[in-house]
Symmetry: C2
Subunit: 408 residues, 2 copies
């Protein structure tokens, strides 16, 4: 078995954990078709009913962004909504191969992108809810494409950039070609689970973030919040891993309970544009100011997709001294960068982050203090000197992070 | 402008003749994405509203055919039907890049393929009708892929086979890179139009085919039949070219008016399988016997898709001495092989082949003697010694083909 085959098998058997007789929807760039074929084979090996493909292409998306008629960006075709929602309702698993040029949509009218994001957020609301509440198994993995590899490893010939990005990804997802990736992932998720339990036992009321960038942020947590990480479970009880790699443990902040200033520690590739050197001012949960040296317009559009987009939906902890972080690479791809750094997300919260949340209605989730939005965007805040101090509901102060690493 | 760009432009501006503000649906293998991008650019250059992509992949189709659950082949997903039918109703143009391994589905259970063909024929009936009646503009073109090129030019290194197939295709579609392909096509379709008019003026009652292979077939033509070829026109009056290349002129036979024996002169790639060295016995229009040295089961499945599949829908004339025929190549791809040889098709007739047909209901078309089916499969019957004798409605005999070429 090649490393590529081992990786495909890992995504299918551990990532979405395909079940006998289940449909698998694979979304991918057309340029990654060769790897999708390996995933499809692994899925049929495991008894998948049918592999359904959803293809996209950076260059065609860019041409469309730049040159299609303006009204194209106000709607999502019904067939696309029916396809995704229909397969999700029917219990399919969803695998995404995420690989794109981080600046693919640079120069495209930001208003078009914002309108499209709003339109798809609205049209795909049920599909999004079915994934965000773990009604279905889903997983995101990545493989290199040249435009992305060039950005991560610039100034090299294409083959070298591609090879280096492959090596980095294989290390991040613990695939060595020895056929033991599945076992390594079992140990890895067990270790994450230990941290999750430690933090849940503390029953924190809030977290206070400070570092030398200038971050000074208090994040209150809802009563009954749960930390999660590693494997998730569908409502039917099937474990799956939503992101591969994953190093984070995460929960939901109290919607109106975030206050202060937070500085990003890495650039963010958002909607095909780069946002860099940015900070936010937050008052009673709402992002009231954003400043960015690069891409401020993109960031402003991002938090104005809907009302919930300017509130927080996730707080996630990743040690500064951890495998992906220690690669000292900027991937320009959230799947990797978020697992190298403590981060926050604006937008929708995950319902698994509150006790009983997966069977709550959207209204009940809101009543418990979880934010709701059609968007969910992670950005990185971890630094070598990040300190996070927890406060328990009985008033004790607990160091959670000291010098960028877990202090528990 | 490269030859590739010129070809893409030709397919978009002359093939589907994209109109300002019109949607363009491009169907293509994922491996042809680089060429689809050229087509998309040409379409936006011409003012296209949006390019929508439908992707497929030989290897994923084959894996599915071999290994998906058995009930997968009994239905076509509603979203796919809605997508194609919806864009056709909305007046989109449809461009197909046809490129496949001629034996891609060899070994797949023929019953699965037959059920899938029946299911899609039924589900996509409206879409098919909208294209077969020229309610929308559509065009099929091809570019090489390695599995196909290897079949046409075996025993060579891949690059050489690919290059030779490119050269053959460029010659067939009259693309030289001089930027004058559009003008050459204007002259070419005018020449075809002359032949069409000559044949229509004869108002033939029947055609009698004979050659040394053993063919001895009489084909009666409906009253009011029309020969067509070169450019078609949408109901809205926009000229388009359904096949590029095209050399044929064609009409519809009288459904119950075909009798005798007909021998194929080339192999046929049908549903991913090869059928070779075959002949048919026809009685009162119906194919009552088929014999094939290779792929007889595939051929039998092909004519039993529905009742109309065992009757004829097209009779097409191509001189043995014509540009594609003179390449002396077997393309294993109907788009090219049908333009190198006189052919017949079993299945659906084109409504443009009878006076006023494009505004007739399916019942009216039937009443005029045109066959109806969810399928339409061309097979080649032309040889160097083919003789076709026409009989006019006033009883004269007219040589139409002598020694494989037009005698008019």
């Amino acid at each position: 078995m090649t490393q590529f085959e081992e990786y495909a098998k890992l995504l299918v058997e551990v990532g979405v954990n395909i079940q006998k007789g289940q449909n698998l929807v694979i979304s991918s760039p057309v340029d990654c078709a060769w790897f999708v074929r390996l995933c499809a084979k692994a899925a049929y090996d495991a008894g998948c009913r049918e592999v359904i493909n959803c293809w996209d292409d950076d260059e065609l998306s860019r041409e469309k962004g730049l040159r299609a008629a303006d009204d194209v960006f106000d709607t999502v075709p019904a067939w696309r909504v029916d396809m995704l929602t229909g397969y999700a309702r029917g219990g399919a698993a969803f695998l995404r191969i995420a690989a794109e040029d981080p600046e693919n949509l640079k120069g495209v009218d930001p208003d078009r992108l914002l309108r499209l994001r709003r339109a798809s957020g609205k049209a795909l609301e049920e599909y999004r809810r079915l994934t965000m509440t773990n009604a279905v198994a889903w997983s995101i993995g990545s493989i290199p494409i040249p435009s992305w590899a060039r950005k991560v490893f610039p100034g090299r010939v294409e083959e070298e950039s591609m090879e280096k990005l492959w090596d980095a990804i294989f290390a991040a997802v613990r695939v060595t070609g020895d056929g033991k990736a599945v076992e390594r992932w079992r140990e890895h998720t067990a270790a994450i689970q230990e941290r999750v339990e430690k933090l849940n036992a503390l029953n924190l009321e809030s977290l206070h973030y400070t570092n030398s960038l200038g971050t000074d942020l208090t994040v209150r947590l809802p009563e009954g919040h749960l930390w999660a990480g590693g494997a998730s479970r569908t409502k039917g009880g099937v474990p799956f891993i939503a992101n591969m790699p994953t190093e984070e443990i995460f929960t939901a902040p109290l919607r109106n309970g975030v206050d202060g200033v937070v500085y990003a520690s890495m650039p963010l590739s958002e909607d095909g544009n780069l946002v860099d050197k940015f900070y936010m001012v937050v008052k009673e949960g709402k992002i009231v100011e954003v400043h960015a040296e690069t891409g401020e317009e993109t960031l402003k559009a991002g938090i104005s997709v809907d009302e919930g987009a300017s509130y927080f939906g996730e707080v996630a902890l990743v040690p500064y001294d951890s495998p992906i972080s220690n690669q000292k690479l900027l991937y320009y791809n959230t799947l990797f960068d978020e697992n190298a750094s403590c981060h926050l997300a604006f937008g929708e919260a995950y319902s698994e982050c509150i006790r009983g949340g997966e069977s709550m209605t959207p209204e009940e989730l809101k009543a418990h203090g979880l934010n709701s939005s059609i968007t969910h965007v992670d950005f990185m805040v971890g630094t070598a000197d990040l300190r996070i101090t927890g406060r328990t509901r009985d008033g004790r102060e607990v160091p959670v992070f000291i010098d960028g690493n877990f202090a528990l």
